[in-house]
Amino acid sequence: MTNSSNLNSKSPIKGLILFLLSFIFSITILIYFFAWDSANKINQNKDYQVSWLEEGSMFICPLH
């Protein structure tokens, strides 16, 4: 068994890395689909006014 003083000296590296992975993956999905949607809208209508969110997602996403 581990006692509390041992726990105080440890860092939750594994838990934090997995937590961060989930966060990054979630953000990636949102950016990818937002950028895809924005690209579709622009292709359909050249005069389409993109919002800051759509513009930002297209800027960040390397695939759109």
């Binding site: 068994m1 581990t2 726990l7 949102l30």
Partner: protein, 431 residues
């Protein structure tokens, strides 16, 4: 495992239902019923609001999103408040906000007012009302925590189903505004009466937690009462992998099933199945999952919660995949029934896991953080089907995303420490 099952079977006859802890369970179940109805009542007021104010459904939907986000971010605050001032006072604050929210929502005349009353006030009310319940019950049960939480978590399904039916009938009879005001007043009165019987800890009425022995009395009451102890313990918990992984797992699992709960009916209708038949599939899922919500904490408490949780996540992830390929209504129903078994069990084991890892401790703040992660997962999962449909014209890709999130949750569960050992068995130096 068979010996564990027989142990559970044999011990059921030994339960002492005269212990005051079961009164706390009953109060917690009523609180869950009323609190979860806040969220579910939203669906029935959309049409009346469109009719009366000509607001578009998308703008009305923003209120729901605001409520979800406010609930998510106020959950750790609710948990902390429960640690410091006690679950009872925190629930009274939630009750006051619930009453204000119900009356203000009924009287709202502008969309901004609606965002404040339903989005912000209800958002806070929901977290103040729901977060303290499970940790409060946990303090009352040294053993049988699985049964106690199973009874309360079962109300997540049954409560809204009953309350929504009653509110739906009242709405037709007296209109949505009178229904909201009446529900607010009646719900508040019921909770005021119920909270008269609520006690934060067994030591408040000179009792021991269920299953505790006399020899532990001093230590138990000390653990329950000392705020310094709770805060110091929480600081130790933040430094464990289990804390971050359990938050992560709750988030991933909620994304996984929120995609399905929001996207299943549109997916079925897009494949030519009638709206009524599609809604029936969702109803089937709710009914079957109610049983596993109740049973899973009991199994997890008696066997090994890590294994049960892993199987639930894996099942939730893999069993959605047939929906991506089928067009048959009966196949949707069959998979729905099978999927609801792991889905019902997926989110119910967190109090048990907290107990296994950190022992008999006030889990309010820890649980609050887990609810934050779960609420964010529900928000993201609810958003994905619409986004996927906008770009692909279908929902199949959303099914694969749901499967991925749930299966990744199962992988994270495998990285958890064993639940056979308490991570921090001795906190005496934290006093």
């Amino acid at each position: 495992m068979s010996s564990s099952l027989s142990r559970i079977r044999n011990s059921i006859s030994d339960i002492d239902f005269r212990h005051y802890g079961w009164i706390i369970v009953a109060v917690g179940a009523i609180a869950q019923m009323i609190g979860s109805a806040i969220r579910m009542a939203f669906g029935i007021i959309i049409d009346p609001l469109v009719e009366e104010f000509s607001w578009d459904p998308k703008s009305i939907g923003i209120a729901y999103a605001i409520m979800s986000i406010v609930t998510a971010f106020s959950s750790p605050i609710a948990g902390y408040a429960s640690t410091i001032i006690g679950a009872r006072k925190t629930m009274y604050i939630g009750l006051l906000l619930f009453l204000i929210g119900m009356i203000w929502t009924a009287l709202a005349s502008s969309i901004i007012e609606f965002y404040i009353s339903y989005g912000i006030i209800f958002g806070f009310a929901q977290s103040m009302f729901l977060v303290p319940v499970i940790p409060a019950v946990a303090v009352w049960f040294k053993t049988r925590l699985g049964l106690a939480t199973g009874l309360i978590i079962g109300m997540w399904s049954l409560g809204p189903a009953l309350v929504i039916q009653i509110m739906g009938i009242a709405l037709d009879a007296v209109g949505w505004q009178t229904t909201f005001i009446a529900s607010g007043i009646i719900g508040t009165l019921i909770m005021i009466i119920a909270l008269q019987f609520f006690r934060n800890t067994p030591s408040d009425i000179n009792l021991l937690p269920y299953g505790a022995e006399e020899v532990n009395q001093t230590n138990d009451s000390k653990n329950s009462k000392s705020n310094t102890f709770s805060i110091n313990l929480q600081n130790v918990i933040y430094k464990t992998n289990a804390f971050w992984s359990l938050m992560n797992i709750h988030f991933l699992g909620c994304v996984g099933h929120a995609v399905i709960l929001i996207g299943l009916v549109p997916l079925m209708t897009s494949k030519g199945i009638s709206y009524t038949d599609s809604v029936f599939c969702l109803t089937l899922i709710m009914i079957v999952s109610m049983t596993t919500r109740f049973i899973t904490p009991i199994l997890g408490d008696g066997i090994n919660p890590k294994i049960i949780m892993f199987l639930a996540f894996l099942g939730q992830g893999l069993l959605v995949i047939p929906w991506a390929f089928t067009d048959s209504k009966w196949m949707f129903y069959l998979v729905g029934i099978l999927w609801s078994i792991p889905y019902g069990g997926e989110g119910t084991l967190f109090p048990i896991m907290n107990r296994k890892y950190y022992g008999f401790f006030p889990m309010d703040t820890t649980y609050g953080w887990q609810i934050l992660a779960a609420s964010l997962g529900m928000a993201l999962g609810g958003f994905i089907p619409g986004l996927v449909f906008d770009v692909t014209g279908g929902y199949e890709l959303a099914i694969w995303i749901s499967a991925f999130f749930s299966c990744f949750g199962a992988v994270v569960i495998l990285t958890l420490d064993t639940t056979k050992e308490v991570l921090s068995p001795s906190f005496d130096n934290l006093q």
